[in-house]
């Protein structure tokens, strides 16, 4: 320490350095305190604002929070004999929701793959168009699914296809961005090797890049599938078919159909938890299996 300070021209005493350090540390602490205070003020005022804009107040509603679940559970318990029948009845709707999510993820992943290849430096077919494709993906990510779904419902009529297209659109943008980050880390050597033997762009991508990035792609796609199941359930609620639609119907019916609502809640919950667990298991497998160089 003494040597270090001595070697610096115009060296200052260690006491001065200490004072400077403490000064910097103090200033930093003050800044942090101010930031925390601003953040706290924002949170509190935001909460109070939201509370005042809400139809029912937070403190009035707090003790009612379990009223509705109680009502639903009470009725479901009363009619618990119906539960298996209800579950069997809504299983097709659940499968529809799952299908929407799966098809949207598949199509989104395919489109996202193409978009990501087109927007990665070193891989792009048209290097000049990279910013264009990046902006395109940004826009695709920015459009909330509900916007596209509602427009398509207006044109195509209610059903699973509008939801599927809407989710696929958003997914291609979101996955495209993640995929292109993966692509940046791919080795270019196989691509150059393939180029040297006269492979076309498609062949270079499929044979040179895909084997390197496939595990990461799959892992991201699985994560997205999980997100898309939630999205397709929500879109069902605004009229796009699947279990969300059934849930809305039984909810708006009110007392008398809460046993059905409970069955749907249960189905949705079990599905989300199940897919969550499965996908995290497979993602673990993919990230750890990659070290062995296993492709699929």
């Amino acid at each position: 320490m003494a040597d270090l300070t001595a070697s610096v021209p115009g060296a200052r005493s260690s006491a001065q350095i200490r004072a400077d350090y403490l000064e910097i540390a103090r200033r930093k602490r003050v800044y942090s305190a101010i930031l925390v205070a601003i953040f706290a003020a924002l949170m509190i005022s935001g909460f109070m604002l939201a509370d005042s804009r809400n139809a029912g107040g937070f403190w009035d509603g707090l003790h009612q929070i379990f009223d509705f679940p109680k009502l639903v559970i009470a009725e479901a318990w009363e009619k618990r004999a119906n539960l298996p029948a209800n579950i069997a009845r809504y299983l097709p709707a659940l499968i529809e929701t799952l299908n929407i999510a799966a098809v949207a993820t598949l199509i989104g992943a395919m489109l996202g793959t193409v978009l990501s290849m087109l927007s990665t430096r070193g891989l792009a077919r048209w290097p000049r168009a990279i910013p264009l494709f990046r902006r395109l993906m940004d826009v695709m990510r920015a459009v909330p699914e509900i916007v596209i779904a509602l427009i398509l419902i207006f044109v195509l009529g209610g059903g699973p296809v509008p939801a599927m297209i809407a989710i696929a659109f958003h997914t291609s943008g979101a996955l495209g961005k993640l995929f292109s980050e993966v692509n940046e880390n791919a080795s270019l050597k196989p691509v150059e090797g393939l180029a040297s033997v006269g492979a076309t762009w498609t062949q270079r991508m499929v044979l040179g890049v895909m084997p390197q990035v496939a595990p990461n792609y799959l892992s991201y796609a699985l994560l997205r599938f999980e997100i898309n199941i939630r999205a397709s359930a929500i879109l069902g609620f605004v009229g796009a078919g699947g279990i969300g639609y059934e849930l809305k119907n039984s909810m708006s019916w009110g007392i008398g159909k809460f046993d059905e609502a409970a069955a749907i809640f249960l189905l949705l919950f079990l599905t989300i938890v199940g897919v969550d667990q499965l996908s995290s298991y497979f993602r673990n497998l993919l990230t750890h299996g990659r070290k062995k160089g296993v492709f699929l």
């Binding site: 939201a50 509370d51 804009r53 139809a55 029912g56 299908n99 940004d138 920015a142 909330p144 044109v155």
Partner: protein, 438 residues
């Protein structure tokens, strides 16, 4: 084992591997294709496209960049009124009318594009279409009494005893017993800045700027901001509400999840029971999903931004708890040991050994969720009734003002863009700052 013995074995292994890979590489696309085909049938895509209402789509696209002015004649009283989009808010004040409509005596002449013209007479209506002829109708108690030119009726005319409606490139005309309506289309978002009752309507940008300099700024701003047609202040407020929902939900969830994550991390909580309990809470929060939380919460708190914020908060507490505890389990022990070696107590060890390591990771995760929650807040707003999501669904359900829908969509995308770049900028800034500090 010699090389000669090993070689055939290796060869067989390699070819088996290649064979397996070849089968897979053909089977995978095949499976995907088969699944997509199944979905195509299950979703009845063909039937859907057959029954799709493409005219709705065309109408929608046309309406996004144009507006229509309704010229309505009450056939009982003979009064003619002009209203943009047929809304009360867009009505022309008494005595004013668009320049393409001329009233001389009892006759009102409405000039449409493509040389077409509609004339309202006291007792009948004439609609002149070049190349087709004159459509006459005398609406009264017995019906619309329409007489069309001789020859086959073209498909843009829909005539029955009590209703005659036409729709072509120049506009739409609807005649019923009680009233006669002409919809005249024009390009643009009419009344976007000022409504008809504002003195600034119809002035050019230069004139408005001059007036603003002359001290009329507050009135000009008031007329624009309180525009009853486009409701700029309500829309801005709704957008703010949506962002507020995302903000409160995301950062509230982070605050709730932080202490719980310590309880769920293996290296900070040796007690298995506590750890498992915390993890199950996270799973429950995440598994129930924002949709169900929204429904349950809106029963207790009613519709509004707070309900949406709390729904996001609950869902994200689960996600953050899981992610934070995973990060905490991967924390580097060496720094904690180093701090411990200086005689620090547990609180100081957490503060100086753990937090500096995890803060950048946490912050970047939280900010990432913040931007994606801005989008979710739109959807949740549509369900729970708050923010821009509500305005959007309302405008879509009424199915008439697609230019407003376009306006909202553009605003939503812009907001998401801004939040995107803001959180990206903050992320870079904070992470860089943190790496340099401490």
């Amino acid at each position: 084992m010699t090389y000669a013995q090993a070689a055939p074995d290796l060869h067989a292994q390699a070819s088996a591997l290649f064979k397996r890979k070849r089968v897979w590489s053909f089977a995978m696309p095949g499976l995907v294709l088969a699944y997509l085909l199944y979905a195509f049938v299950a979703f009845d895509v063909a039937g859907l496209f057959a029954s799709a209402r493409w005219d709705n789509g065309l109408h929608l696209i046309k309406d996004t960049y144009s507006y229509k002015t309704h010229v309505t004649r009450d056939n009982r009283t003979g009064a003619v009124s002009y209203a943009i989009e047929g809304e009360r808010k867009g009505e022309y004040p008494e005595g004013q009318h668009p320049e393409w409509a001329v009233t001389t005596g009892d006759v009102t002449t409405i000039a449409l594009t493509h040389g077409q013209e509609v004339r309202y007479y006291p007792d009948h209506v004439e609609y002149e279409v070049p190349g087709y002829g004159i459509i006459r109708a005398a609406p009264g108690r017995s019906g619309v009494n329409a007489t069309l030119p001789a020859g086959p009726v073209p498909d843009w005319i829909n005539a029955s005893a009590n209703r005659l409606s036409t729709s072509n490139e120049a506009g739409r005309v609807t005649i019923t017993r009680n009233r006669t309506e002409v919809f005249r289309y024009a390009t643009g978002w009419e009344l976007f800045f000022f409504t008809l009752d504002s003195p600034y309507h119809g002035l050019g940008l230069g004139e408005v700027v001059t007036l603003a300099w002359a001290g009329e700024m507050p009135q000009i701003w008031g007329d624009f901001w309180q525009n009853r047609m486009w409701r700029h202040s309500d829309v801005a407020w709704a957008l703010f509400e949506t962002v507020l929902m995302a903000f409160l939900g995301t950062f509230g969830a982070a605050l709730v999840a932080l202490p719980l994550a310590f309880l769920a991390a293996r290296n900070f909580t040796p007690l298995l029971v506590v750890r498992q309990a915390c993890r199950r809470v996270f799973d429950l929060c995440r598994g129930v999903d924002a949709l169900i939380w929204t429904i349950v919460l809106s029963r207790a708190f009613g519709p509004g931004p707070l309900t949406g914020a709390l729904a996001i908060l609950l869902t994200d507490t689960g996600s953050f708890g899981k992610m934070f505890s995973e990060t905490l389990e991967n924390v580097d022990d060496k720094q904690i040991e180093g701090i411990r070696s200086t005689g620090a107590n547990p609180v100081q060890r957490y503060r100086f050994g753990v937090l500096p390591q995890v803060t950048p990771v946490f912050l970047s995760q939280v900010l990432y969720f913040f931007e994606s929650n801005t989008r979710s807040a739109t959807v949740i707003g549509a369900i729970t009734g708050g923010g821009i999501g509500l305005l959007l669904t309302q405008a879509m359900i009424t199915q008439k003002d697609w230019e407003e829908v376009t306006y909202y969509i553009i605003l939503i995308i812009l907001t998401v863009f801004v939040m995107d770049s803001l959180s990206g900028w903050l992320r870079r800034k904070l992470i860089k700052g943190d790496a340099g500090g401490h």
